[in-house]
Symmetry: D2
Amino acid sequence: MSMKNYQKELDNWFKEKGWKYWQSLSILARLYEECGEFARLVNHLYGEKPKKDDEKEQELEEEIGDIIYTLICFANSHNLDLDRSIRKSFDKVKKRDKDRFKKIE
Amino acid sequence: MSMKNYQKELDNWFKEKGWKYWQSLSILARLYEECGEFARLVNHLYGEKPKKDDEKEQELEEEIGDIIYTLICFANSHNLDLDRSIRKSFDKVKKRDKDRFKKIE
Amino acid sequence: MSMKNYQKELDNWFKEKGWKYWQSLSILARLYEECGEFARLVNHLYGEKPKKDDEKEQELEEEIGDIIYTLICFANSHNLDLDRSIRKSFDKVKKRDKDRFKKIE
Amino acid sequence: MSMKNYQKELDNWFKEKGWKYWQSLSILARLYEECGEFARLVNHLYGEKPKKDDEKEQELEEEIGDIIYTLICFANSHNLDLDRSIRKSFDKVKKRDKDRFKKIE
């Protein structure tokens, strides 16, 4: 009951502005770009020669925000329910863990 | 007040299990992998020779879920607030739009 | 004078078969997918819990091959010269290094 | 007999400078970053609202060059043979095509 609000807010904003979501492959390309910027920052902070840099660390939130924003655009343009997305993924991890537990016993 | 719940739920789960989050570069590699699977699916459904495939379309939610799951792991291991992330990204888009409007006038 | 041969070989093969290169955004999506498979393998071998695995290590060459194959497809469909690509990138690194040297003096 | 020369040239350069290749996960992060820049450019030129832009088109070669440069770094640090990489990938495509042909008959 939570990503729904973000999805709705963005959708209202797009409607109000008369904007259309991009086609799927373009949103995917944008996702690639945003993840690349995130990778650059992560490598700068925690990569080969980690640099302590408080200012840059605050940018992590922004970079991840841009990735999630892109995913919301994709989800809205395909009527996907991101709360169900996250729930499915959580359930999968929990199930995988349970199965591992059984094997050990 | 919404991604917070997912972040908390995952963190509780990790604590209960005694799991540790991966190091930053490994989570990044996983993000790359998950996005690659999403790309494969998007290309299959909407790429060069789009295929109508209802079953595959339902997998879109799962693939995006895995991406967000990976981002939550990263956020939790760095004490990032994903609601603030999304808010910042939304604000940026809205601000960019406002500036564009000003220019036109 | 070397990537040229690979580009030519692939182009002849496509012509012979009557195949067309995909549109740019689809090749990009494929690049994403191939890089994701590479990331999965790298994470398996050198990530959080590195696993010594000779068989998997041999797959590294194949995964990188698939990435370069995808780049050749893109280059051919846009008449790009990959030898010039590599030369430009090499020159940039060497130039950057020279500039760094000057600064130190 | 061709990527070999590029691999050797870069390796000599690194030896001469006393540089070391980065660890695998850092090179992977760099690959992500470089591919993201390529994605940005491809989306600009051929995405949602394709823009004819000759200057930008010339940058395509540079962006691909940076990706291949990153792959050469990875290959050198793992003693991979990129000519064999490309050959394996070409063979796979040709084999796949042959199998497809058999099925049709």
